[in-house]
Amino acid sequence: MSSLLHACHSADHLIGRRQFFGAMTRAGAGAAIAGLGSFASPAMAEALAKQQKRMLVIRLAGGVSQLETWDPKPRTTTGGPFRAIPTSVPGIHLSELLPQTAKQMHRLSLIRSINTHEDDHGKGHHLMLTGRVQTPGQAWPELGAVVAKALDSPDRSLPGHIVITPGGGGGRNADSAYLGPKYASLVLGNGQPPQYTERPASLAENASVCANDLRRSLDQRFALRRRTAETEAYTQSFEQARELMARRSAFDVTQEPAADHERYGSHDFGRHCLLARRLIEQGVTFVQVTHSNYDTHNEYFNFHFEQVGEFDRPFATLIDDLAQRGLLDHTLVVVLSEFGRTPHINHLYGRDHWSKAWSIALAGAGIQPGAVIGKTNNLGTEVIEREVDGGHLFHTYLAALGVKSTSNFTIAGQKLPLADPAFEPIHELLM
């Protein structure tokens, strides 16, 4: 049968691979290489897949204003020109720049009492994405790497940590520190599929199948007397690569219905949100989408009007879709930034960097919906209730995902805490 397809008389490559793994398992290779779609039935697989915890981070790069989003102070000297509007949760108001998001408020929660003490872009970003203050000589893994490792399972055939960047580029980021490149983010520059997943036209699939068959048999022979975890990992990486090639469409946002493209908007951020939905749906553990250009020291209100306006619809659509599809219960969504913006309006009619009293929004897995944590004063110049720092937030994300945030990774014999041990989760926000 399949010998008709392949001159080397290979069986179908997928079967070939399973046989290969079967042989390895029989030889006592250990359970770590089981999986790759080995569920008993598709329905069961789907049910299990849905319960898998996931995380989606939307990073508003440059520093988004809390006053024009989550913590409006209308009709005050610091409040700016925009009004506050009621939301689907009575008593909670958002800026009028978020009309669609306001309708999703019953699925969202807000933290309005963040004080991160870092007014520098780099340091603020570091604190928000690693949950630790930047210290010279120390590298900490970013949230995506920590989550991808903590929630890793051998069944994953897609990478666990994906970052969709607004610009181009691709490859692998160096954001996993001591967790190693396995958990470093795979970059999808402007939402393009990963590098080298497309087979060059000059190469026949047939040839590749035969070559891989020979490679497998060489590896099996080598493993007979010299098997280590490292040779296994190497051999497996080729199977993962082939799986990734086979599932290249997972990254292809153009396969989403035209109506959905319409609903998310034709701009990059809308497309990236739709891609994020697609990836979350396919079981990717951690996805990060970036929306940039919030660092507006002058002509601020025009810029924020445009940026927040562009953010509102795709974000609200995404939350709604995830909820409709039953994914929100297992997916933690966080909208964050490196800091907020000053309540004081400067002489260029803008707001500057401000980390003393700002906000983020969360939704999904393990988070109480419709909750508001903390409070700022009337002018938004100070936190007056339940002050939290970046460390608390990092613990909270992990706890919401069902990961014990006070536990450790053991790396090369060293126990390294998942999150800064000086902090703990915001317990009242968790379900």
Binding site: T135, G137, Y196, T231
Partner: protein
């Protein structure tokens, strides 16, 4: 071992010249290998003659049992691949393998390693190893990576010893003075932003083998001997260092302040301290006292901020000699450079040297550290010794099959022919006893600690009381002194008043006399009255003052008594405290000695348990193999019996048809059939037993493999570095030859050979040409190398030895153009040669030797032949490409073994 800070380095024998004969022989070989070295004249003599060569010391330690299983020596194909990768950073070529296999000299491995050390690839590779170790692929910031690499390359070419290299990178400041090292040398500090904590952490890790990072903010929570004060003692050397860049558009330099100390507060205990500059667990170094007026040799200039200040005394430079002459420095270097070859440190991980992670073999590590110092930190010579030792040449493979050795009984002459279960049991018993001793020692330690802790608390409490009493003494003394002063003042006041009274009395008397003498002078009577009144007042005041003086004096006496009482009390409590301290100290000594015993017994138990585990694994392996063999033999016997019975039964049945009424025959037949059925049952049972035994044998073999893999003295299966992988692929596919030919053509076009008087080629021209072509070839390889580094290296600033395999790497092999391209035939490459080879077996042999550096097995020849012949002749190039791709992506190619 080391007598002075830099004593050994001043030896004139450091750069001995190569012996003439050896040079000629080596030249002959290297010309064959295409590149003569650039620094032939500087190659040092291999080993110092005084002590036995390091390799012999390693071998005798191995024989003494630091590694419990002296393994087999690897075959020549394995040795040439392994050592070529380790010394030159690429796999050997087919022709090199042929020559090595054909070499019949008994010391051909020595010759091979020497040839490799003389090869220009050795310089390139060693420079890369050092670059990766020192910079850990940090991104370029203030110094161009190319300048740093060029500087390192120069140092390697000059055979600069490791200790001097470290001194140079730590003292480089990036200035362009004539006497300063090139700017590249300053990259180690500048691209760490000259940040004191980063410099401290990496100095501790890279040069002392201790990752003290966790001790920056508090004593290490889990490692007993990583202390915050050690971190800050080391930090004190760097705390005055800073990045000097007044103009962001211009280059940055390293600069130092004249003052500044390392102060710290534990975030756990809030205990604060200030550290004097010292090595971890070392004494503070002596520092010169510099007068405030002389702090600077170039003072900071506020008017001219571009002046780089230079202090008279450099804290950072004060580190250099204590650092590189310390034992820790030698031990770390020996461990790291051993790990570079063997794939694992004797202390592993190499960054975590502390009492709870002791060396797997102290004696071996000591010998290596001593050997490295004896070799004056010459890294090539050190590697050479390791490579020629049994440890390096051990086969990463199983010992002889137990099926063979199981047949050899243990004898007195050969007790290890088959490690017996009894030996394993003895080892287990010893380990159990040692574990028990460890427990006892630990109990003793905790009991001693229980005694000591309350005593220590009591002593501390008494200290506090003594301190309070001493304070009370001070207060009493102050009061007594105040009372004394007050009493003295009152006495003085009284004395003054006492002196006044006779004066007034005399005046009163004289005035009264005057009034009686001079008549009719009423003013005198008035004056007399006034004086009398004044006298009365004075007497009254005197009485008051006398009262005050008396009471002040009484007060003074009381306070003096109180002071004496307080002093006595304080002295008593201080005596008590001292006595308590003496008792506590004795208890502490008992505790410390118990702790030391506990440590020793723990190490002993650990070693014996390891030995027992190995002995048991080995014994289990042999037992399983014996049982597998016995079960197979039983099955065979059962089958023979059954077959014999079957054939006998068959003939009897034939006989029965001829003699149907022969009762005896019928009876025999019945008995035979019963036996036959029993025999079949036996077969079933034997078959099940054989299967079970076989699978048990497989499991036991796997345990053996992993036990071998865990043995620190056997070269570990190590992934090729990104650079090794890139160069090896280029070498194996013949692409390197192509690039070399291309470089030669380019160079020759620009530099025609000069005519010489003797008509022979000009030797200078040949040397220059060879070097230039090598450099050109390296430049052509560089972009590929960079691509491999991007894909296969660990993150910047983290250890680069951790292996990982990701799908993007595999995807690169699958779909990126370059690797596929190198497997397509083009002028002079391997694919071209293979396509033109007609005989599949020859093709397979050539392919396997070039890529895997070994001949193919019969099974592999069969498989490859099948692949070649099953596809049309027109697809030959595609088949060759597939075969090459499969071999290049195999685990066997990806790892050093």
């Amino acid at each position: 071992m080391i007598t002075s800070a830099c004593g050994p380095h001043q030896s004139p024998s450091r750069h001995r010249h190569l012996h003439r004969a050896a040079a000629i022989q080596w030249l002959a070989v290297t010309i064959l290998l295409w590149c003569p070295p650039s620094q032939a004249a500087n190659r040092p003599e291999s080993t110092a003659p005084a002590s036995p060569p390091l390799r012999d010391q390693i071998n005798s330690l191995l024989a003494r049992g630091v590694a419990t299983m002296p393994p087999e020596k690897c075959d020549d194909e394995t040795f040439i691949r392994r050592s070529s990768l380790d010394f030159r950073g690429l796999t050997p070529s087919a022709s090199e393998i042929h020559s090595f296999l054909a070499d019949s000299r008994p010391d051909k491995r020595v010759h091979l390693v020497d040839t490799f050390i003389a090869d220009p690839h050795h310089e390139r590779h060693l420079a890369t190893v050092l670059d990766v170790m020192l910079m850990e692929r940090r991104p370029e910031k203030h110094v161009k990576t190319a300048e740093w690499k060029a500087w390192l390359r120069q140092k390697v070419a000059n055979r600069t010893p490791w200790d001097q290299l470290v001194q140079q990178i730590l003292s480089a400041e990036g200035t362009e003075n004539a006497d300063a090292p090139p700017r590249g040398a300053a990259r180690w500090i500048l691209d760490r932003e000259a940040e004191p904590n980063t410099l401290t952490r990496d100095t501790a890790r890279l040069f002392l083998g201790m990752d003290l990072a966790c001790a920056q903010c508090h004593d290490h929570p889990r490692i007993a001997d990583y202390w915050q004060r050690d971190y800050h003692g080391l930090l004190a050397f760097f705390t005055r260092t800073f990045l000097f860049q007044p103009d962001p558009a211009k280059p940055a330099f390293v600069a130092e302040r004249a003052e500044g100390e390392a102060t710290f507060t534990s975030v756990f205990t809030q205990v604060a301290g200030q550290a004097r500059p010292s090595l971890p667990q070392g004494k503070p170094i002596d520092e010169p006292t510099v007068a405030t007026a002389n702090l600077w040799s170039v003072p900071p200039d506020e008017k001219n901020p571009s002046t780089r200040p230079v202090p008279t005394h450099s804290r950072k430079k004060a580190l250099l000699n204590p650092l590189t002459s310390s034992r820790d420095f030698a031990v770390n270097a020996a461990n790291r450079f051993w790990a570079a070859l063997l794939g694992r440190g004797i202390i592993d991980p190499v960054d975590l040297r502390h009492s709870a992670n002791p060396p797997a073999a102290d004696a071996l590590l000591d010998a290596l550290a001593d050997g490295l110092v004896t070799l004056q930190y010459n890294l090539s010579a050190f590697w050479r010794e390791i490579a020629l030792s049994q440890a390096y040449q051990a086969s990463y493979d199983l010992p002889p099959s137990p099926a063979t050795s199981a047949a050899t009984p243990n004898t007195d002459e050969n007790p290890n022919a088959a490690p017996s279960a009894a030996a394993a049991a003895a080892a287990t018993a010893a380990a159990t006893a040692a574990t028990e001793a460890e427990r006892t020692a630990r109990d003793a330690e905790s009991k001693a600690r229980e005694v000591w802790e309350p005593l220590q608390l009591t002593a501390q409490k008494l200290d506090a009381e003594a301190s309070a009493a001493t304070k009370a003494v001070t207060e009493a003394r102050n009061l007594a002194e105040a009372a004394a002063a007050a009493a003295a003042q009152a006495a003085r006041d009284l004395a003054a008043q006492t002196a006044l009274i006779p004066v007034l009395e005399a005046a009163a008397r004289q005035c009264a006399e005057a009034a009686q003498t001079v008549l009719d002078a009423p003013e005198l009577n008035e004056a007399s009255t006034l004086i009398q009144a004044r006298l009365a007042t004075a007497r009254q005041e005197h009485e008051t003052l006398a009262g005050t003086a008396a009471s002040q004096e009484a007060e003074h006496t009381a306070k003096t008594t109180a002071l004496a009482a307080a002093t006595e009390k304080a002295a008593a409590i201080t005596r008590q405290a001292a006595a308590a301290h003496t008792v506590a100290q004795t208890a502490w000594e008992t505790t410390a000695s118990a702790a030391e015993t506990a440590r020793t017994t723990r190490d002993n138990a650990r070693r014996l348990n390891r030995d027992a585990a190995r002995a048991n694994t080995m014994a289990a392996w042999h037992t399983a193999a014996r049982q597998e063999k016995a079960a197979a033999s039983r099955l065979q016997t059962a089958e023979i019996t059954a077959r014999t019975l079957a054939s006998t039964t068959a003939s009897l049945e034939t006989a029965t048809t001829s003699l149907p009424n022969d009762k005896e025959l019928a009876a025999v037949l019945t008995r035979l059939k019963t036996r036959q059925s029993a025999a079949n049952t036996t077969i079933e049972i034997s078959r099940t037993e054989a299967t079970t035994a076989s699978s048990a044998a497989t499991t036991a073999t796997e345990s053996m493999v992993s036990s071998l893999a865990d043995s620190f003295a056997i070269a570990r299966l190590t992934p090729l570095t990104p650079e090794q992988l890139c160069w090896s692929i280029l070498q194996a596919t013949g692409t390197l030859d192509q690039l070399h030919t291309q470089s030669a053509r380019e160079w020759d076009e620009k530099n025609p050979a000069p005519a010489t008087e003797t008509n022979g080629p000009d030797p200078t021209h040949i040397t220059t040409r060879t070097q230039a072509i090598h450099t050109l070839t390296e430049e052509k390889v560089r972009p590929h190398e960079e691509q491999f580094v991007r894909l296969f290296s660990n993150g910047p600033g983290s250890p680069q030895t951790d292996f990982f395999a990701t799908s993007d790497q595999a995807l690169y092999f699958e779909n990126a153009g370059s690797v596929r391209l190198w497997t397509m035939p083009s002028s002079g490459n391997l694919a071209e040669k293979l396509v033109s080879t007609t005989e599949p077996a020859t093709l397979t042999a050539t392919l396997w030797l070039a890529l895997l550096n070994r001949p193919p097995s019969q099974e592999e020849i069969g498989q490859a032949t099948h692949l070649i012949t099953s596809r049309p002749a027109g697809e030959k190039a595609a088949v060759v490409s597939d075969l090459m791709w499969a071999l290049l992506t195999s685990a066997e190619f990806r790892f050093k073994h």
